[in-house]
């Protein structure tokens, strides 16, 4: 029972205060205070469809409550599953790379592809809101890159990837790197059909990013802690950042990287090789 509006139901509460303000949620986690629920409509106490049905009977007799019970992301998940089997049939390892803007994701990708030097057939999908600029940087390494401009969209979705797949020269047993739109919230919700999500956090961002944007870190299998060459100039605490990330996801692997100096690139490529062997 909700203490604010008195709405019933043991599992569900009617409310609109959830998920939105990450900072407040992080603060709350520290203080242990309970969440205040704001009722949408206190005149509707029941959270169960039975109650809603009852409520609706006193309106027009033609109105009826229809059970739906469908996942809002169901369509995306079906397309992602199709992408996953398409990739599996060709034994292509696909990675979904996610980060906030300015994490140095494209530079890191360029450095990794240069180091890879064509030893492994690779292709890149570049998600970006506006420009073709990142794809051009990738193509300069000799690796084919397809740009998806999402316009106002803040994330790639499975359908965009499904449309991109047949247009890319993808070799059997190759590598597909999908650079998602720079955003630490939205891409986490949309499965693209990748084998792994990789989150890139730069040391110029706060150590507490994993706690502020937990969904991204919870969904990832690997974290690249990037711009390690800047550590001497920052107060960034590497151990603490990793500890926070492990609170959200204890199984998250971590590699310290620098696109400028080349730290961790070999380790990341070895990780890719290991995952490819088991793909």
């Amino acid at each position: 029972m909700c203490g604010v509006c008195g709405c019933g139901g043991s599992e569900a509460r009617i409310g609109s205060v959830f998920g939105g303000d990450r900072n407040k949620r992080v603060q709350r986690a520290g203080t242990g205070t309970t969440q205040a629920w704001r009722a949408i409509d206190t005149r509707r106490p029941a959270a169960s469809p039975a109650g809603l049905d009852h409520e609706s009977t006193d309106r027009a007799s033609v109105a009826r409550l229809q059970r739906v019970e469908r996942d809002i992301l169901g369509k995306n998940e079906r397309i992602a599953a199709a992408n996953r089997s398409w990739l599996a049939e060709r034994r292509i390892l696909a990675l979904n790379l996610m980060s906030s803007p300015g994490s140095g994701k494209t530079s890191l990708l360029v450095r990794a592809l240069e180091t890879l030097g064509g030893r492994l057939p690779a292709a890149v999908i570049e998600g970006d809101q506006q420009t073709e600029f990142d794809a051009e940087r990738i193509r300069a390494t000799g690796v084919p890159a397809l740009q998806i401009n999402t316009g106002k969209g803040c994330h790639l979705d499975a359908d965009m990837v499904a449309r991109a797949l047949p247009r890319l020269p993808l070799a059997e047993r190759g590598l597909l790197l999908i650079e998602n739109v720079g955003n630490l919230v939205c891409p986490a919700a949309f499965d693209l059909g990748e084998a792994h999500k990789v989150v890139i956090l730069s040391v110029t961002e706060g150590e507490d990013k994993p706690l502020k944007y937990p969904d991204m870190f919870a969904a990832a299998d690997l974290m690249l802690l990037n711009k390690a060459d800047l550590l001497p100039y920052l107060s960034f605490d590497v151990e603490r950042a990793i500890e926070y990330a492990h609170r959200v996801n204890p199984r998250l692997e971590v590699i310290l990287t620098s696109a400028t100096r080349g730290d961790g690139i070999d380790a990341w490529l070895a990780w890719i090789e290991r995952e490819r062997a088991s793909a």
Partner: protein
């Protein structure tokens, strides 16, 4: 703001249901949203207003039922509520509880005419 994509997903489900049921109007949409689903409810409502205009569900009332997070400790098996992704196990203190409930988003029901 992925709430716009979610709103479009909701509209598609609602329109399909209304067509299947030969409804003339959708009066209410009941959503079930997990506390761990990373959705901003106000943003979602804002986007729904936008994408439902000129649809069969224009002006429909939107009710949001929150499903609290619930999970199981991977170390000791304790079942516990999860307020945040980094909520530790109340029994053994281990992090990374397996989420069993509260990370999904569903259209639970619609009220049709």
């Amino acid at each position: 703001m992925h709430e716009l994509s979610l709103a479009e997903g909701i509209r598609d489900i609602v329109e399909e249901t209304a067509t299947m049921e030969a409804a003339t109007r959708v009066r209410r949409i009941v959503l079930e949203i997990g506390a761990l689903a990373a959705v901003d409810a106000d943003a979602l409502r804002f986007c729904l207003d936008e994408v439902l205009s000129d649809s069969i569900a224009e002006g429909a009332e939107v009710d949001v039922i929150e499903v609290p997070g619930r999970g199981r400790c991977r170390q000791c098996g304790t079942l516990a509520p999860i307020d945040e992704r980094h909520t530790p196990c109340p029994s053994c203190g281990a992090y990374g509880l397996e989420v069993l409930e509260g990370d999904r988003m569903r259209v639970q029901a619609v009220e049709l005419e």
